[in-house]
């Protein structure tokens, strides 16, 4: 007869890994269950005979022993210049330093760039010298202006003409008072 309690709790009971309640329960169970009692007895005997660690032990070669002892006998000690800080704290500090330097440096260079650009724009406004293009445009403006003056003058003279024509009496009409005697 097979008992599934062995499957669930037997090995854990043997390894003393059950909590107090389950341990007491299973201990009471094996008093009445032949299957579990037998399995436990066989396994406990096997552990001290067939499965004892000595059955599987092997001595390493002397050369391996010597090398391991040579390297491992003196553990790494913290030096005067290093602090004994747990690895994760050290790594966190390094990360914060890198971020701070990176961010600070980036901000500084950006600020310098912006400042120099602003300075450049200010100096351009203050200067009187025009650029060649601006001079050319200025010249053409003057030309246009002088041409416009000429045009205005001619328009004004035309206006005078028109005005004079309007004032001039009808052609051929000579106001002669003598004509009527």
């Amino acid at each position: 007869m097979v008992c599934n309690q062995w499957d669930e709790k037997g090995l854990l009971f043997s390894a003393n890994e059950l909590n107090d309640t389950d341990f007491a329960e299973y201990k009471a169970h094996i008093e009445t269950c032949e299957f579990c009692k037998k399995e436990l007895d066989v396994y406990n005997k096997e552990k001290i005979t067939l499965f004892a660690p000595a059955m599987f032990e092997e001595a390493p070669p002397a050369s391996v022993d010597e090398e391991i002892i040579r390297v491992c006998s003196n553990p790494v000690k913290p030096t005067a210049t290093t602090f004994f800080i747990p690895a994760f704290i050290k790594n966190t500090i390094y990360a914060i330093l890198v971020l701070t330097v990176g961010f600070g440096g980036g901000t500084y260079f950006m600020g310098v760039r912006i400042a120099s650009k602003a300075k450049k724009q200010d100096s351009n406004i203050v200067k009187n010298e025009t650029t060649p293009v601006e001079s050319e445009i200025a010249g053409k403006t003057v030309d246009i202006a002088s041409n416009q003056d000429q045009i205005n003058d001619s328009l004004r003279s035309n206006d005078t003409l028109i005005k004079r024509e309007n004032e001039i009496p009808i052609k051929g009409a000579i106001p002669v008072e003598l004509k009527n005697e």
């Binding site: 552990k47 499965f51 001595a59 006998s73």
Partner: protein
């Protein structure tokens, strides 16, 4: 059942030598090493079925232990800690080499040529050989659980954590390992204990 008092006394003794080791006293490490080297080396041979590879992994295990000694939890079993490192080294090696665990026939082939059996009386020597053969015929996962439990004394809940499986799976593999070892021993003429 495992005697808890003996385990605690063992842990206490290990802590004393561990502290000596950390202070740079050569006696500290050499005592610990002599106490556990055979068990660890035997474990690595069973895991890898290759003595040369087991030697390399043995060195890597202790070098890793040295590097991480300052992180060792002194309330924990030193043997379990070493076994955890050795197990990880073995698994990592196979992962990197993309080598599958040997199947039953390969394991049987390798036993005679690579396993060294120390000199003992004939009957014990024979039983020892047969038990080792039977263990090497196990499915790799069953073998892993069995060796971690019986050689390393590691708790089933820690074995489950190490292997990345539920505890019931680890227990199931152990039950199958026990059943299969007994079957293999019976085939080889070893009946019961």
């Amino acid at each position: 059942m495992i005697d808890q008092a003996d385990k605690e006394a063992d842990k206490k003794e290990d802590r004393v030598f561990f502290d000596l080791w950390m202070k740079g006293d050569p006696k500290g490490f050499s005592t610990i090493y002599d106490k556990y080297k055979k068990r660890l080396f035997g474990f690595l041979i069973k895991m890898t079925c290759d003595k040369g590879l087991a030697e390399d992994l043995m060195q890597e295990t202790f070098f890793a232990a040295l590097r991480n000694a300052h992180q060792f939890d002194r309330n924990r079993s030193l043997l379990s800690w070493f076994f955890g490192i050795a197990h990880k080294k073995a698994i990592d090696h196979f992962r990197h080499a993309k080598v599958e665990f040997e199947h039953q026939k390969e394991a049987e082939k390798s036993v005679g040529s690579k396993i060294d059996v120390p000199d003992k009386d004939t009957e014990n020597k024979r039983i020892r050989e047969l038990v080792n053969e039977a263990v090497l015929t196990l499915d790799p996962l069953q073998r892993e659980v069995f060796l971690l439990r019986e050689m390393g004394g590691i708790a089933f809940k820690d074995i489950a954590k190490t292997m990345g499986c539920p505890i019931n799976t680890a227990l199931g593999r152990m039950r199958l390992a026990l059943r299969n070892i007994r079957k293999e021993l019976e085939k080889r003429g070893v009946h019961g204990v």
